[in-house]
Amino acid sequence: MIRNLIIGAILSSLVLLAALVSFVWTPFDHTAMDIPAKLQTPNTDHWLGTDHFGRDIFSMVMVGARTSIAVALVAVGIGMSIGIPLGLTAAARSGSWLDELIMRGNDLVFAFPSLVIAILITAIFGAGAVNAIIAIGIFNIPVFARITRGASLSLWQREFILAARVSGKGPARISAEHILPNIANLLIVQGTIQFSLGILAEAGLSYVGLGAQPPTPSWGRMLADAQTMVSFAPHLALIPGSAIIVTVLGLNLMGDGLRDWLDPKLRVTRT
């Protein structure tokens, strides 16, 4: 439905806009503390109030959008840049030992409990945005590999691929010239979905203290910091919580809308 696409695009671009504007302007310095002015409810000065250190929540949410988007985007980038070539290779060599190896490897990565591994990665390399990206990115790889292979396999059965083979083109060339452009839509749609999952995952990791590190604000950490104060300062949790929901909702709607708009017959798995 095109309406989904529009609503989703508006929500997502609002968030993107906030992130971009935060580079040049925020109402306050997002790191500036003013402890006597802590825990203010929204007012004319601080539009969304202040947190337990007296920082301006509006500014933090804006900069937090930057963190969330950056982490999720790079994680999706990792997943795509490794997963898609793997999937293409597996499909081109379908049935061979290489295909088997790639797919079994995929299953294995899938089988690992992602959150536990994410915690381990941060335990090994230390908490931080970069490691959160790696942790989320690793689990994006099999998602893209699998969906790429699945979609490519059916394309490899198509006669225009046979025609290309008759024209002497090798698997690599065919993958790049014929397969990839034809599954691009599918990958873009899956990309938006993984992107939204990435934002949720970053929030979850930050919530347990393994995401971006202070003073870089992150929605998940704002939420985690606020959790004990929900009972007397609910806006502290509601605001970053809503930011996450709006972003994820926007991206999902956009993904759904894109899928319907680009090709109603696209199959997208989302887990």
């Binding site: 299953d107 690992f112 381990l120 090994i124 979850g204 709006v246 909702l249 989302r270």
Partner: protein
Amino acid sequence: MLRYSLKRLLSLILSLAVASLVIFFVIEVAPGDPASFMLGINAQPDTVAALRTELGLDQSKFARYANWVTGMLHGDFGTSYTYRTPVAGMISDRLWVSLPLALYALVLSTLIAFPAGIFAAARRGKGGDMAVMGATQLGVAVPNFWFAMMLVLIFAINLRWFNAGGFAGWDKGLWSGLHSLTLPAISLALPQAAILARVMRSALLDILGEDFMRTARAKGLSRRQALWRHGVRNALIPVLTIIGLQFSFLLAGAIIIEQVFYLPGLGRLVFQAISARDLIVVESVVMLLVFAVITVNFLVDLAYAAVDPRLRSRT
């Protein structure tokens, strides 16, 4: 069928072997030493060395890997560095919380998702469909720990219908056990239900476009009869895949929820074990989880065959 199962079994064993290697050596590079963690900041170096000897940490990595693997083959997962009790026992205690919780959440999510997905598919494009789909969008977008927090505020603190957390144990009866798992199960189930409902809907919509649905209508079945008799079972295949994935996720992914509801489950065990560098526990739990996922996938494959006769004769 048997041949197929055998083949799957072989790849299962191979996967586990590779997994054990990966797990062991990845986890072993984590900085931090269980012995110094146990003994704290006033410990003297010789005390730490003594504890390392006692824990067997002075052996080479390969020797320890070999011990661990051979032990596991005999059902012996080793002894926890911090708790100093057999890991197998600890895990099985925790499983009595995590497994029922995962199952409970799965049942809830299925009970919500099936009717919702079928309802939406049957009313494709109408108000009911929009409402259900809108709700699922929201369900996917709400972080579950946040949702859990809200549940506790409302149902435990304000209404006092449930405990804020903790697990009553099964010895006090099935009911009190389930009661203490209800809020955690709901917070785990809802996002999963949203996903499952969407899968159910789209699978059904695919099926609705199939020729045999038209054949069914031509026989005189009403739209609804056709949907239930011919649609749902065929739609089960993609849905089963997702259910399988979700179960493994629920088993391993409840860490944060277990934290919020202070449940003595596997997730919290592994979380604690990581921070205490109780590596053998971490390794064994991860191994178990990998095993569970692979086994569940295996079972899902067998379940496909039960649902889809075409696969029964598959070579």
